[in-house]
């Protein structure tokens, strides 16, 4: 094909304009981007670097070594038994807390999705008037102090708390129920309560996007309401539901406030160990190794989960 010289020049001018536009765009982006690099990417890199150093007394030994990771995975003959599970680690605390955190976080995430989905469904399909007000009502708790929301559960569940004193005043119990607070169950309950508002929005958005005529078509073709829900609504809302689950699971594994306030000795999680190593035991390098191992493990679990449910396929179906 022969290009006319005039068109060729016009294209060159357009390309130059395009490049100039891009440069302006990158220019606008750069302050925020540089802040993110300086305050997120570099600190994470520093954290990884620190995890390959060691602490000797008050001094930081800056020779690169994998000793910290060695400590985390060093094996021994005699297993430490935790809930019937043998851990063959010489220093089993990180591995046990990691497993425990993941299990507790999974339980909290499951509870969150189970609680949030019907609410999102309600917002998307049943609320016709004052929809914005309902959504604000649901999102307000998420924006108010996390610390106070967790603390309020201490007030509810405590030895001298609202439930115990209330039941005692009603004459139902004579002695306070001690099993309410300071255990993993209290942590899971509190985590679920704190994060449930956060999970509603992504699910709601994906439900709201569903083309209502698909639902009508299903009904016209003879599907029952339940069948229609399982075959159309549920699959089409899967992307939002999966996103919500990840938005809850990833941050809660490393949560520090909830186990500290309502977990007691039995409810500690991996976040407590990281805090302990950094601020109390003055072994920041080992703490860094635990934090890096945690991120990697969460990343692997999330990737496995997305692969297992065929997330790429689910997302593609949306369009």
């Amino acid at each position: 094909m022969v290009a006319l010289p005039g068109i060729d020049r016009a294209e060159k001018v357009r390309d130059r304009d395009q490049i100039r536009r891009w440069l302006r765009g990158y220019g606008l982006l750069s302050p925020a981007f540089l802040v993110m690099v300086a305050m997120l990417a570099l600190p994470i890199a520093a954290l990884v670097l620190l995890s390959f150093w060691t602490q000797s007394g008050y001094e930081l030994d800056r020779t690169l070594t994998s000793a910290n990771y060695g400590t985390l995975v060093e094996l021994k003959e005699e297993p430490t038994i935790w809930f019937g599970i043998p851990f063959y680690f010489a220093y089993p605390v990180p591995a046990i807390l990691m497993l425990k955190s993941i299990v507790m976080s999974l339980m909290a995430t499951t509870a969150v999705i189970a609680l949030a989905y019907p609410m999102a469904y309600f917002l998307a399909f049943r609320v016709h008037r004052h929809k914005a007000l309902w959504i604000i009502l649901i999102t307000i708790p998420f924006w108010t102090s996390y610390l106070l929301r967790v603390f309020s559960w201490k007030v509810v569940l405590g030895f001298n708390g609202a439930i115990n004193s209330g039941l005692k005043a009603l004459g139902i119990i004579d002695e306070p129920l001690e099993f309410l607070l300071y255990n993993p169950g209290a942590v899971v309950l509190t985590l679920a309560h704190s994060w449930v508002a956060f999970a509603i929005l992504p699910i709601y958005v994906s439900l709201e996007k569903i083309d209502r005529s698909l639902l009508e078509a299903a009904s016209d073709l003879g599907d029952s309401r339940w069948k229609r829900f399982v075959r159309i609504t549920l699959p089409l809302s899967a992307p939002g539901t999966v996103a919500a689950a990840l938005l809850v699971f990833i941050p809660t594994v490393g949560d520090y406030v909830t186990p500290t306030l309502v977990g007691g000795p039995g409810g500690t999680m991996i976040g407590n160990l990281i805090q302990d190593l950094f601020l109390k035991r003055n072994d920041a390098p080992l703490g860094a190794a635990v934090a890096v191992a945690m991120i990697l493990l969460i990343g692997v679990l999330v990737a496995l989960f997305l692969w297992a449910i065929g997330y790429a396929r689910i997302r593609a179906r949306r369009t």
Binding site: P118, Y121, R126, S145, N160
Partner: protein
């Protein structure tokens, strides 16, 4: 349309009660004339609120938190605005991954962000911890929220308006201040308020990155160890809850009221 109260409605009402129930106990017990958070209620008192005025360490912490939150709100919105323009208007190569990277603090466990910043500040740069380091950490976690708010606002109005303004001879700078900024104003206000609340209420990063001075949540946390200070904590908690709720309501109402209109031309 006729609405019949069905199982889903009942569930919604129970859900809202579950969501608000525990938190609403704080004002109840703060106004209760007793040193314990127990039923039955003993009587009404404002004592716990009155005694706060004399609590100098709390007032110091409050001032610190206000200073940080105002600075963080202004800085993170100022950083998020051009970035949001770049990501919504320029169709940049690599825009998707960059956007993803900038949303990362949303899903990172905050303890990881806290220790990572602690490491680079103390072990690599050797800077003293202070309120400045807390503010820096807060800018990082506020940025994704500010950008989400601003980007959805900017996507809501017609980019052709901006092109028209350029065609009519306005410079990019004039177009921004005369057209884009006024149209995006509800988003900007909402972004400022959101960042303010996030910073004001944030605990984990402040706990790790503060030096000798406390922010209000760090102060509150330090008080939780003392059972006899429980009523004071609940009174302070009540005020914080009321304050944040009012701000969120204002932010959300401004954002919803300023929702993209059907006719983007009428300003």
């Amino acid at each position: 349309m006729f609405r019949r109260p069905d199982a889903l409605w009942i569930y919604a009402i129970i859900f809202v009660a579950f969501l608000y129930g525990p938190v609403l106990l704080l004002p109840v017990f703060a106004l209760n004339d007793s040193n314990f958070a127990t039923f039955p209620l003993a009587g009404f008192t404002l004592r716990n609120f009155q005694s706060m005025a004399a609590n100098t360490s709390m007032i110091m912490a409050l001032q610190n938190s206000l200073k940080i939150a105002i600075g963080v709100a202004l800085l993170s919105t100022a950083l998020a605005m051009p970035a949001s323009l770049a990501l919504t208007r320029f169709r940049l190569p690599g825009g998707g991954p960059i956007h993803g990277f900038m949303m990362l603090p949303l899903v990172m466990p905050s303890i990881v962000i806290a220790v990572a910043l602690l490491v680079i500040i103390l072990k690599i740069l050797g800077i003293q911890l202070s309120l400045w380091t807390v503010a820096a950490g807060h800018v990082l976690i506020c940025l994704p929220f500010c950008m989400s708010v601003l980007m959805s606002r900017l996507e809501g109005f017609d980019p052709n308006l901006e092109e028209a303004s350029r065609d009519l001879g306005c410079t990019a700078w004039q177009t921004f201040w005369r057209l884009t900024f006024p149209l995006a104003a509800p988003g900007v206000v909402s972004s400022l308020l959101m960042a303010f609340i996030i910073s004001f209420d944030e605990f984990v990063i402040a706990f790790f990155l503060t030096g000798t001075e406390n922010t209000l949540p760090v102060y509150l946390f330090s008080q939780l160890r003392f059972p006899n200070r429980l009523p004071g904590v609940m009174a302070l908690g009540t005020l914080i809850l009321v304050g944040s709720t009012v701000l969120v309501l204002v932010a959300e109402l401004i954002r919803k009221r300023g929702a993209p209109s059907a006719n983007p031309g009428d300003i």
